[in-house]
């Protein structure tokens, strides 16, 4: 999922500026799962903004709505009229959701309430960890299901470097060496021979370096 976290309240208030009628829009997608921008978090933030408005002597009127997904126009359309009754929309979606809302709602300011962090997994309750950088050229079948681009601090395709020590990365004794993980997994899979093949330079044009990425599926049109 996309993992995000809420911005500091001061930053949100500063972005809202003089807006007094604000619509907070939550998202039932990834940010609900990582407890950053679901219905619950949207209501919580609304309460905080009302209290902050009072202490600052402002009359902030806050309404809330949480939609299925902010990254899909079909769910944005139904709240367009409601949004235009306000001076600003504060979106609790990821950066993709904020942008599609801004694009679709046109003449009203859409502001982000979250910082979008990474594509990750829930490691345990309350802990999310990065696993994928969406490089567009997946090599997981060659690396025992562990991503060298994400898990190695240098994104080495042929690691580990000399800084691997007792399973840890030299950057941080708490951080696992991604390549140690890969080697351990390859060994467990009986695929250590895979390590003896040089991985070619990656095609980074399939990552963000190639410009805006797009998927066009004629079969779905």
């Amino acid at each position: 999922m996309i993992v995000a976290e809420q911005k500091p309240l001061d930053e949100i208030l500063s972005a809202l500026g003089a807006s007094e009628r604000v619509l907070l829009v939550g998202c039932h997608g990834c940010v609900t799962v990582c407890a950053a921008g679901g219905e619950k978090e949207t209501e919580q933030l609304a309460r905080l903004l009302r209290v902050a408005g009072k202490t600052q002597g402002k009359k902030i009127s806050v309404e809330t709505v949480t939609i299925e997904r902010q990254c899909d126009p079909e769910f944005i359309e139904p709240i367009a009229a409601q949004a235009h009754e306000h001076q600003a929309v504060l979106s609790l979606a990821c950066g993709a959701g904020v942008q599609l809302m801004a694009e679709r709602l046109g003449s009203i300011a859409v502001l982000p309430a979250l910082n979008t962090l990474f594509l990750g997994v829930a490691e345990e309750k309350g802990t999310w960890v990065e696993r994928c950088q969406a490089c567009g050229d997946c090599k997981l079948h060659l690396t025992g299901g562990i991503c060298p681009v994400t898990r190695c601090a240098k994104s080495l395709m042929n690691g580990p470097c000399g800084g691997s020590s007792a399973g840890h990365c030299e950057l941080d004794p708490e951080l696992a060496c991604g390549w140690q993980l890969i080697i351990d997994r390859l060994e467990a899979l009986g695929q250590l021979d895979q390590y003896e093949k040089i991985l070619e330079p990656a095609d980074w044009s399939r990552a963000r370096h190639g410009g805006l990425r797009k998927v066009n599926r004629e079969d779905l049109k």
């Binding site: 395709m157 470097c161 000399g162 800084g163 691997s164 007792a166 040089i198």
Partner: protein, 305 residues
Amino acid sequence: MKAGSNLEKVLAAGHFAVTAECGPPRGADPEQVRKKTPFLKGFIDACNVTDNQTSVVRMSSLAGSMILAENGIEPLMQMVTRDRNRIALQSDVLGASALGVRNLLCLSGDHQTFGDDPEAKNVHDIDSIQLLDLVRMMRDEGKFPSGKELKGAPKLFLGCAVNPFADPYDIRVPRLALKVAAGADFVQTQCIYNIDKFERYMADLRQRGLHEKVAVLAGVTPLKSAGMAKFMKRNVAGMDIPDEVIKRISSVGKKEQPQLGIDMCIELIERLKGVEGVRGVHVMAIEWEEKVEEIVSKAGLLPRP
């Protein structure tokens, strides 16, 4: 001859090679490089010029290499993949060869968070193994990796670095095999203090026949003090300094420790000379270049061929 460097000739003639290291200055003053040259000229076969080591900004390795060459020392230019993408790396490889550099060491480079600019982006478009392969292809096939013809192939004797003491141990020899397959002609090792573990590494390396494919230059760094040994053991990942080494350097007073460090380094070189497959030493006397002559001389390695 692949490149015709002095280092390549010394190794091809079967001599025990000696390389040293020179870090360019943190400024634009060429005198800082020149003043180190009398301590090295005539005592070594080639001198590594580091490429922003530990991610601290320094004069470029190419400029440092040229200043050494002007002063009669063959440069061994280091190149890391941290700061340049494949376009800049290829371009600098061509430029270095055009200016007469004949030895190149391909590295990934220390992570930028260790230096003064931890906010910097690390490039790592390609890694050190892929860089070896890229330069080997340009040199031997006269082609760019894109397949286009080169007008004049670069002449570079290619090296890599290995750390036999990093984890996991089991892939350390296979990892060198990858670097040799990619194009490494010689390898310089991390500094050796645990000679027993290094001898095990060399035995494993010989078992795969790698000693016949790549010239191993064993890395040594003289200890200046017991404090330095303890600091390196504690703070440098993959640095293996056995307790008995620390005990020995600590056994004399602080004033005598530098000389004992030099003597221990000479003893180590004597032992390394007897290890099958070790074709030379890489003396990394960090900010202590004035001791290189004494070490090389007392280790019986002068005069140089």
